[in-house]
């Protein structure tokens, strides 16, 4: 599979995700009034505008087909209560798309799940507005979002209480919660649809849900009731099923290898439950996902080394390297020598050149002084970190000194 078809697959994935979000938005606007459409619209439009603005600033072609930020913005909106003020949605989506996506290189190159990042940013900045749940089927002011707020099931558990919500309501999402993350039956149906159309694989959702369930069974938080009863509320009151289907299958931020995916799911599950038990926010899954996103490449590498050649062929290159326009085209030369320092280049992956150098020295103190001597030669700066050049200089310097 070459990188072009792979990128096309990315696009298809986001098309399907848009399609998958539609039923959720419909259900939410039925239960929580038409303001849902306003919030989703604000998120969607902000994401597209920032995408276009960034393309203009970065002097790139505007890519209309790139829906990754729109999908992330809508997924983020689904985790908010319907009463959320619009400026929170706009500021968070704009900041996340600018910094979380475009600063890291734009489409398919960002390392963190955008929806999770947006949710975490909103949660730490405006916790009062973001965690205010609205009672379903009550009046909500279309413009201001003023509504009757209620305690969510998961915060009741956090406070040591026992939520009284019938199983049927839990499955249908008819209890105070975020806009779209509580419709468990609908979400499961969407998950099956995405699985059937091969847009996601079973590895991450199943391992994630299984880990969360086992964790909740072993360490129940609701006392005085059976473990299964506790498990039901732990899983259905929170957005865990929503995370499993909508947030943990993004191709850019999850491993590619099946075994790596299993580990990814398990790790996220454990961290999610730890964050839920000991953290101060209800959205433990988002914080956990950001942390596990950072280790994604490691799991892929771990299993890539063990995989056989046929598997390697299927493994696509994640980042396609495209030369960017340099600032200056001037490279004046005098007597065949370059006058100026060459333009900044991207620093090479550090590990690739990190090899211990074997250097002859006679005494202990001698070695220390050499080490201290040259320690400042490689400077961490935005200018240029050309490791090989620095190494060469270091070696030359050392040999000269000797």
């Amino acid at each position: 599979m070459n990188s072009q078809t792979y990128k096309n697959n990315y696009r298809q994935h986001y098309d399907y995700m848009m399609l998958a979000l539609a039923p959720l938005i419909i259900c939410a606007s039925f239960i929580y009034s038409a303001r849902v459409l306003l919030v989703c619209g604000a998120a969607f439009v902000t994401a597209r505008i920032v995408d276009v603005a960034m393309a203009v600033i970065r002097k790139q072609d505007i890519d209309v087909d790139d829906k990754s930020s729109a999908v992330a913005a809508l997924t983020f909106a689904m985790m908010l209560p319907v009463s959320v003020p619009l400026y929170i949605v706009v500021v968070t989506v704009a900041l996340t798309v600018m910094v979380g996506k475009h600063a890291f290189g734009g489409k398919d190159a960002y390392p963190f799940s955008l929806a999770a990042l947006a949710m975490c940013v909103a949660a730490v900045n405006w916790p009062n507005e973001v965690f205010k749940a609205v009672t379903p089927l009550t009046d909500v002011n279309f413009w201001t979002g003023a509504a009757q707020s209620a305690l969510t099931g998961s915060s009741q558990i956090k406070l040591g209480g026992l939520p009284y919500i019938s199983t049927f309501d839990l499955l249908l999402g008819n209890h105070p919660a975020a806009m779209g993350s509580a419709f468990v039956l609908v979400i499961v149906a969407i998950g099956v649809f995405l699985l059937a159309t091969k847009q996601i694989t079973w590895h991450i959702p199943v391992s994630f849900l299984a880990t969360c369930s086992v964790f909740a069974l072993i360490f129940p938080r609701i006392y005085g009731v059976s473990r299964l009863y506790s498990l039901k509320y732990e899983i259905l009151c929170s957005a865990i099923v929503f995370y499993a289907v909508f947030m943990m299958n993004e191709p850019a931020t999850t491993p590619k290898n099946p075994r790596a995916k299993l580990i990814f799911g398990v790790l996220t599950g454990v961290l999610t439950m730890l964050f839920r038990y000991f953290g101060s926010y209800e959205i433990g899954g988002c914080f956990a996902l950001l942390l596990v996103n950072a280790t994604e490449g490691y799991w892929d590498r771990l299993f890539e080394n063990k995989a056989d050649d046929t598997e390697k062929e299927d493994k696509p290159v994640k980042v396609t390297v495209k030369p960017e326009k340099t600032h200056s085209k001037h490279q004046p030369e005098t007597n065949g020598k370059k006058l100026y320092k060459k333009e900044p280049v991207a620093a090479k992956p550090v590990k690739a050149v990190k090899q211990p150098k074997d250097i002859d020295a006679t005494t202990t103190l001698d070695i220390i002084s050499r080490a201290e001597d040259e320690i400042d030669q490689v400077d961490f700066s935005t200018q240029t970190i050309d490791m090989e050049q620095a190494l060469r200089e270091f070696e030359e310097r050392y040999k000269g000194g000797k």
Binding site: F104, L291, V350, T382
Partner: protein, 207 residues
């Protein structure tokens, strides 16, 4: 007797876990970050060696400082102890480094010694060690808590450095806008990880 041991172990591990997670030395406090970034970008230093050395020095220096600093408070200089403490901690670091290097130099094989010595420099005196020691002294930790906190801090430092160097692989490519390459994108990457760790505590306890 048994319960005392269990209590001690529990204290030790709870302080370690606190220092690894919620009070992570890099993500929650930023201690040792400049040193760490320079280490990651220095091709002659190995992350694992550096952080292992840092762990060792952290433990030795914590114990030394725990024993020496209270002496100042009992001396006539007690009124100025706050201003003298940094000198004593730095002196402890210096002594421990020289002793460790001499011991390693005489016991290890020459080739092995050469391999690790570059990673040792800089691991002995940095703000991760000094900051952690000042924190645990300031909070009046007892011996077990001091060691647990010190060990947890340096393990937290190792984990943070591994996450950051793993990140270096993902954020060093040509798609990253030119002006963001290097320090800016690394800091933004660290900021996202710090945000994730913040989810554990929910409040700032840095100052």
């Amino acid at each position: 007797m048994n319960s005392t041991l269990m209590n001690t172990l529990f204290t030790f591990f709870s302080y370690s876990v606190l220092a690894i997670g919620a009070e992570n030395v890099i993500f929650a406090r930023g201690l040792g970050l400049s040193t760490g970034l320079r280490m990651i970008n220095d091709p002659r230093k190995d992350t694992i060696y550096f952080c292992t050395a840092l762990t060792g020095f952290q433990l030795i220096n914590s114990i030394l400082a725990y024993l020496v600093v209270p002496l100042v408070y009992r001396s006539p200089l007690a009124g100025y102890a706050r201003f003298i403490t940094p000198v004593i901690i730095v002196a402890c670091c210096a002594v421990s480094f020289i002793v460790v290097v001499l011991v390693l130099g005489f016991t290890l094989k020459r080739s092995a010694f050469k391999k690790i010595i570059y990673s040792l420099t800089g691991a002995s005196i940095n703000s991760a060690i000094v900051g952690t020691i000042i924190l645990s002294l300031g909070r009046g930790f007892n011996f077990v808590e001091t060691i647990g906190f010190g060990l947890g801090s340096s393990i937290g430092y190792l984990l943070a450095m591994m996450l950051i160097s793993e990140g270096e692989r993902k954020i060093n490519h040509d798609l990253v806008p030119q002006n963001f390459r290097g320090l800016p994108i690394t800091l933004i990457y660290i900021s996202v990880l710090a945000l994730a760790i913040f989810g554990l505590t929910g409040n700032t306890m840095a100052l």
